[in-house]
């Protein structure tokens, strides 16, 4: 008996409850942790049948399993799901413990004991529960995001398809209108040339007005065709471009009047951009800066700044300026601020479209009578690559 006690006393140093019973189901050992969590002392417990203190164990299936452990040495486990609350213990923080009980056999000399190790799995169950909850929420979030992404992709495809249809439609209508309109114009001219002396002056005036309207319409059709020429599905062709050289090229192409001064503050270092698109952007913006400036001496200044991952190109003029309420509208198709006969509200929408195709954006700041600055931000990498 002394040897048995000596052996079992080792369990006193274990931090979780350990109870030993003999083959008659009588408690023979009760460690300190069991006293702490059960609030029953070893003195009170030892010598009593385990069922007296824990009646839940007093059933055939638990008895049979415990006997099986004693007989065969096969360990058994009682988990909280199928065998809950066998030992109504409270852990150190005073909470009712959620237990996993491992029953194993100890053989001392010829005597066999069943050892109950009562492990509190409350904390691990709680952590596991929190982890599973988090995992479930994350999975749901990912699922939702994927659904939103798919929906967005669907709308983008629809939008792209509608845009392409619209472009094709505009191109077709413009193209098909051009020939008959030009025919009407020629016939009206013949009418004036052949019958000028016979027609009343009022009728001649009306025909001349009709010819002017035809010219305006032809210009609008040409502008629409020009706009639809810059299709979004054309690839961005990046190349090393010296912007100063490009600006000079644009200036030469435009035949700038002598009262216009164009300066630029740009390094000679080449930048990687789409040359064709940037040429058109500069052409339209410089042309606008010249056109919409009624001052005698006109100035245009072009600057390039390196801003992290972006190039920022600013084109500043001392022109008529734009009212703040028009900042958004000026990029809308056919929206013209001027009543000039050569203004069809096409130039800036083309600029915005081209900048967008290069993965960039355009903004404007202006003051009436002082001038405007158009700022273009373009990423330093290919939009398709990104």
């Amino acid at each position: 008996m002394a040897e048995t006690n000596k052996f079992l006393l080792c369990y006193d140093f274990i931090s979780y409850p350990i109870i030993a019973i003999n083959s008659g189901f009588e408690i023979v050992f009760w460690n300190k942790a069991t006293t702490r969590e059960s609030r029953i002392s070893a003195l009170q417990a030892c010598g009593k049948p385990i069922f007296e203190l824990y009646p839940k164990l007093d059933s055939n299936f638990f008895k049979e399993r415990i006997q099986n452990v004693l007989k065969s040495g096969l360990n058994d486990t009682f988990n909280p799901q199928l065998s809950p609350n066998l030992f109504p213990f409270h852990n150190v923080s005073g909470k009712r413990s959620v237990q996993k009980v491992v029953v194993s056999r100890a053989k001392i000399k010829e005597e066999k004991f069943a050892i109950f190790s009562v492990l509190d799995v409350y904390e691990s169950e709680r952590k596991l529960s929190a982890y599973r909850e988090l995992k479930k929420k994350t999975e749901e979030e990912i699922k939702k995001r994927k659904e939103v992404e798919n929906e967005l992709r669907k709308y983008l495809n629809q939008l792209e398809s509608s845009n392409n249809d619209l472009d094709r439609f505009a191109e077709m209508i413009s193209h098909d209108l051009r020939s008959p309109l030009s025919g009407v114009g020629i016939l009206l001219k013949y009418l004036i040339d052949d019958n000028c002396s016979q027609l009343p002056s009022n009728s001649v005036k009306n025909i001349e007005l009709a010819l002017k309207s035809i010219e305006t319409m032809q210009n609008m059709i040409n502008a629409t065709l020009e706009y639809s020429r810059f299709k979004s599905n054309d690839e961005v062709n990046l190349e090393q471009v010296n912007l100063n050289e490009l600006i000079d090229e644009v200036k030469r192409a435009m035949n700038i009047p002598v009262n216009v001064g164009i300066s630029s503050d740009i390094d000679e270092i080449p930048v990687e951009i789409d040359r064709g698109r940037m040429r058109q952007v500069l052409l339209n913006l410089i042309s606008n800066a010249v056109k919409y400036n009624s001052k005698e001496h006109k100035y245009i200044n072009i600057e390039l700044e390196n801003k992290g991952n972006l190039y920022q190109l600013s084109i500043t003029d001392n022109g008529n300026g734009i009212d703040e309420s028009e900042y958004q509208n000026i990029f809308s198709l056919y929206h013209s601020l001027n009543r000039r006969k050569d203004s069809y509200g096409i130039g800036l929408p083309i600029v915005e479209r081209l900048v967008g195709q290069m993965g960039g954006s355009i903004s404007v700041r202006s003051k009436i009578g002082v001038g405007s600055t158009f700022a273009i931000s373009i990423p330093k990498y290919s939009p398709s690559a990104s």
């Binding site: 065969s72 009682f78 909280p80 799901q81 169950e125 599973r132």
Partner: protein, 196 residues
């Protein structure tokens, strides 16, 4: 010397006794009608076993492993797909299949269920073969089948496979009870089998 058929009959008897005992305990404990059947028992090398289970190697499997030493060295396993493990847990503890509580309960439930079955099986196995074994505490794990590293480490061992069918409240589940004998113990195992 016993033939292959007699050997399989003997193994079937060992398994049926063990599983029958486990079913009795489970019936009483869960208070639900549990029927356990072992329609097939056969013996394979580990290579053959791997070939047979190739079709399920990508499935997540729940298993309870009980290692044994002393008279024989090896381990026994209760193995079923994780989906089946969830279904059984749902039936046994009455949690909804989609509930997060169920996921938490799978480990404890399958661990105890597997423990009862393996104890029944191994009790009968060691009794009938008259071999004394020492056991570790059963451990629960979830793996894909091809991650079972022990299988590749020990390719020359023997495996006794028992395909098991459960009916709990008339719902049918498939599971496997497996005994793997390490190559060092194959001769002892065969001798014991012949000596029965």
């Amino acid at each position: 010397m016993i033939g292959q058929e007699e050997r399989n009959d003997l193994l079937r008897e060992i398994v049926n006794i063990g599983v029958g005992r486990a079913a009795g305990i489970l019936n009483e404990m869960i208070q639900k009608e549990i029927v356990l059947e072992v329609p097939e028992v056969f013996m394979l090398t580990i290579d053959e076993f791997k070939q047979r289970l190739l079709y399920m190697e990508d499935l997540f499997m729940s298993k309870v492993t009980l290692k044994f030493t002393l008279g024989l060295e090896g381990k026994s396993e209760f193995m079923l797909t994780y989906e089946n493990a969830k279904k059984i847990t749902s039936v046994l503890i009455g949690e909804d299949l989609d509930s997060s509580e169920l996921e938490i309960a799978v480990e404890g439930t399958i661990n105890e269920l597997g423990n009862i079955l393996l104890n029944g099986l191994m009790g009968s196995f060691s009794n009938i073969l008259n071999v004394e074994l020492e056991y570790e505490v059963p451990a629960y794990s979830v793996h894909k089948l091809h991650d079972f590293s022990e299988l590749s480490e020990n390719t020359s061992g023997l495996i006794v496979i028992c395909n098991t069918s459960f009916w709990i409240n008339d719902i049918d589940f498939e599971a496997k009870l497996i005994i793997m004998i390490k190559k060092e113990s194959i001769n002892t195992f065969t001798d014991r089998l012949l000596g029965v």
